[in-house]
Amino acid sequence: MKLTVNGSELQINSDSDTPLLWVLRDELNMVGTKFGCGIAQCGACTVHLEGRAIRSCVTPVSAVAGKQIQTIEGQADEKGLSTVQRAWLETDVAQCGYCQSGQIMAASALLSENPNPTDAEIDTAMAGNICRCGTYPRIRTAVHLAARWMTEEQSA
């Protein structure tokens, strides 16, 4: 089976029913994507499939063969961190940090669909991403900051 992760095509040997999460973590050693619940309840395992946020813990790898998958490892490019990641650093969002890969993937998927979300839209879009450390106020702030920076970058 072949997977396209962060633009690279990779050969996969995991059993076909293996959730994408565990293929990423155990076979590809891309451990930035996290395990939190295994039943699509926490968002720690959020990755992008064809640009949309999905829960990799409930996505069998066979279902995504040949499709474009983006993970936290692919967010930065040669120019550096993504705008969302920079906004996260600037706002000092992370505490333990364990949820933050998933938060950042959820936020960037949101911003690609809705470049200027309201608080309520952020709340709805990111309600599936648990942060046990309670970094929620800074998550809201960072999403707004990223939205502003992205708008500025586009008009620049």
Binding site: S14, D15, T18, P19, W22, R25, D26, E27, N29, M30, V31, G32, T33, K34, F35, G36, C37, G38, I39, Q41, C42, A44, T71, I72, E73, Q75, A76, L81, Q85, W88, L89, D92, V93, A94, Q95, C96, G97, Y98, C99, Q100, S101, I104, I122, D123, T124, M126, A127, G128, N129, I130, C131, R132, C133, G134, T135, Y136, P137, R138, I139, R140
Partner: protein, 734 residues
């Protein structure tokens, strides 16, 4: 401690002299290795600081990082005295040897929100002593007096001659001249601080946005096997026998074996281990807890609360005053009931162990590595120094990873015994919720009266719940006349045991009793803010019940009760103003307040709620005022306050581990809900300026939020909740 007195200024003296046997004893520097020595290519300047010839400065951190900000404040303190950027410091987890034990706990333990307070002097002293050695080296090498030298950006400079040397370059001189750490050193006066007291972003923040931060669950070792454990359905149950025939036919599965925790399946991937675990056929002995239930605990504890307990405090004559007040109907009675709670750290428990001959190495996210080391050494029958612990970052802890039984660590060791490769055990969320350790279930029975002016006159409280410390190695330190100081933390007006603080309130007749409920194999565990998780609710809600009885505004009541406690009184005065306490609210809305002292920091919160007809409610606004002494990192403090109150609010709103016939009924986040983004209130944090020594903030904000919300719900609806969580009483946080 005397070495730090030399610089004299008022602020300095307050840092040094602030007394109390408990926290401030820890301000005294721990013993540093007396002699500097070579370490690889670099040099250990003392136990905490290594400098390499290429000028990399490494801090050996003896406090764990699990979101608490320990690595940030420790590197800030060291960097301040060494005149370097705190982010330029490299950091390693210090090894599990006594020189790194907490001077407060005398163990290698990160707990009790004391990291900042207990490292404030040692880290600065370590930096200042290393700097003094570097200055002496430059002074002798360049033949100039030390007072003509300065330090900046990792260099010693001499303005007169324009000479400069990096710290790393001076190591050669230090060794050649055998320069040793000075006996005494002058620390910077707070007025000279360039780093401390200023907002600083998280030291290890970069790896937490690009996915490279390494948690225990992320570590891969060559040849490592993954283990999934089938655990007994009932706490304290055990394996009679099992049939692994089907499991062993599955691809990648290496072995299944019984260990004390259950049956472990070892496989070449975690997914395969998990899948094979589901195929095990296990015959369980359900043990002695087969019939226990949370409802029975409540009933038993209520019955115990009606009987005299161990007497913790008896100020004035509470019983007499209450009996006298009965006739004039100035008495209130209430019983508060709090369930078991799971910690539900987002990174589930996990540990890698490797056992080779008479040595053992573990990779474990832990708050408590001296205990892990001790438990493993006892289990394997090997010397303690043969157990090496590597401590990665942790995806949350909230007390769970300070396990006294070292449960998730020693089971990995057991699973790795007899294997020639390392074994990693990862808990599923279901195991975490069903088979964990819990905030113990508690019942508090209260009876109180008000005097003719409406002020509280008498208070009688009986606390019933499982002790955390009874019978443990901490028994001598934390049990007072058979009572666990954590069961009563925040209920007593006077200091108790090693806790040098009371409630901050003065009620003239105040009696508190305690019952240690029977221990049943359901393991109680510290849960962020420990005793306050239940005492805070009982005390602060019942205080509002008395305020209501006496017809006194709850904020005014607290201001009057704290008139002799300057710090809490100041916190409340600021809170009253910041939260617009006197501004009327629309119908359906309510306001509540609560204030608490835990490990010395006074904290108070006021909340506003909006309640719908059906009981759905929102917390619209939280104003939190904290006095945690000198604010080492205001940005970190603000984050801990926001996160702490989110944790406390989730627990009070919907946290509930319910046991029926010995089995935990919850299993994952769908039936053990936790706070999510839409439920998170707007939070305003006010940190009061202070030149008192820094004290805790990681757990302090967790405690007032619950009672403040309950009091606000009463204010909005006239309905009092006395059984938790709120969702079980028709109030749903949305």
């Amino acid at each position: 401690m005397s070495e730090n007195r030399s610089s004299g200024g008022l602020n300095r003296r307050r840092f040094v002299q602030a007394g109390g046997a408990f926290l401030f004893a820890a301000q005294c520097p721990v013993t540093f290795s007396r002699k500097a020595h070579a370490a690889g290519a670099g040099s250990m300047m003392n136990s905490f600081v290594r400098i390499d010839p290429n000028n990399v400065i490494t801090l050996l951190a003896n406090n764990s990082e699990f979101g608490n900000g320990a690595y940030t404040v420790m590197s800030m303190m060291l960097a301040e005295e060494l005149d370097v950027d705190y982010r330029s410091i490299a950091l390693e987890a210090a090894p599990t040897t006594p020189e790194y034990y907490s001077p407060l706990f005398r163990e290698y333990l990160t707990a009790g929100s004391v990291t900042t307070g207990s490292t404030f002097m040692p880290m600065r002293t370590a930096g200042a002593k290393a700097r003094a050695m570097l200055l002496e080296a430059a002074s002798r090498d360049w033949q100039v007096p030390t007072d003509e030298l300065g330090t900046h950006g990792g260099q010693v400079t001499h303005a007169g001659s324009g000479r400069s040397s990096t710290y790393g370059e001076l190591l050669e001189t230090i060794h050649r001249l055998d320069i040793q750490p000075p006996e005494t050193v002058t620390l910077k006066d707070p007025s000279e601080f360039a780093i401390l007291g200023k907002p600083a972003r998280r030291y290890e923040g970069a790896g937490k946005v690009d996915g490279t931060a390494q948690f225990g669950i992320d570590i891969k070792l060559p040849g490592m096997l993954y283990g999934a454990i089938a655990r007994p359905p009932v706490h304290g149950g055990s394996v009679v026998d099992f049939d692994a025939t089907d499991a062993l036919t599955m691809p990648g599965v290496v072995k299944a074996k019984a260990i004390r925790a259950g049956v472990v399946v070892l496989a070449d991937s975690y997914w395969r281990a998990q899948k094979a675990r589901a195929k095990l056929k296990i015959n369980w002995d359900r043990g002695t807890n087969d019939g226990v239930s949370s409802e029975q605990f409540y009933a038993d504890y209520r019955a115990l609360a009606d009987t005299p307990g161990l007497l913790a405090e008896d100020i004035g004559d509470a019983i007499g005053a209450l009996d006298a007040a009965e006739a004039s109907k100035r008495v209130v009675e209430a019983t508060y009931e709090m369930p078991l709670l799971a910690h539900a750290t987002l990174e589930p428990m996990n540990c890698i162990a490797r056992v080779e001959g008479d040595t053992c190495t573990v990779w474990s996210g832990t708050q408590y590595q001296s205990n892990d080391q001790e438990v493993i050494s006892r289990f394997l029958g090997i010397p303690q120094q043969n157990v090496t612990i590597h401590r990665p970052l942790m995806g949350g802890s909230f007390g769970r990873r300070s396990s006294k039984t070292a449960d998730y660590t020693v089971e990995a060791v057991e699973a790795a015994m007899g294997e020639s490769v390392p074994v990693q055990i990862i808990w599923s969320r279901e195991e975490d919720i069903r088979s964990g350790h819990y905030r113990p279930l508690f019942v508090h029975k209260l009876r109180g009266s008000v005097d003719e002016s409406g002020m509280p006159e008498a208070w009688h409280q009986v606390a019933v719940g499982q002790s955390l410390m009874q019978g443990s190695k901490h028994d001598p330190g934390y049990m007072v006349r058979g009572m666990d100081i954590y069961s009563l933390d925040g209920c007593l007006q006077e200091p108790f045991g090693v806790f040098p603080y009371g409630t901050s309130y003065q009620i003239p007749n105040h009696r508190v009793e305690s019952h240690n409920a029977p221990r049943l194999g359901i393991v109680p565990q510290e849960w962020r803010s420990v005793g306050h998780t239940h005492t805070g609710i009982a005390y602060e809600c019942f205080l509002d019940e008395l305020a209501d009885k006496g017809g006194i505004d709850p904020m005014a009541l607290r201001l009057r009760l704290t008139k002799d406690h300057a710090r809490m009184n100041r916190v409340l005065s600021v809170l009253k103003e910041k939260c617009d306490w006197d501004k009327p609210l629309a119908p359906g809305r309510g306001r509540g307040v609560a204030s608490r002292i835990y490990n010395i920091s006074p904290v108070a919160q006021a909340v506003e709620v909006t309640v719908a007809e059906n009981g759905d409610f929102t917390v619209d606004r939280v104003v939190c005022v904290v006095d945690c002494g000198f604010a080492v990192n205001p940005l970190g403090i603000e984050g801990q306050v926001e996160g702490g109150l989110a944790y406390g609010l989730g627990g009070v709103a919907f946290g509930n581990i319910d046991i029926v016939n010995g089995e935990v009924q919850q299993s994952n986040f769908h039936d053990y809900p936790v706070m999510r983004l839409p439920q998170m209130p707007k939070v305003e944090v006010h940190i009061l300026p202070s030149d008192e020594p820094p004290t805790g903030i990681g757990e302090q904000a967790t405690t007032p939020i619950g009672p403040a919300v309950v009091n606000a719900l009463f204010n909005a609806t006239g309905r009092r909740v006395r059984r938790f969580p709120l969702s079980s009483q028709g109030f749903n946080l949305v």
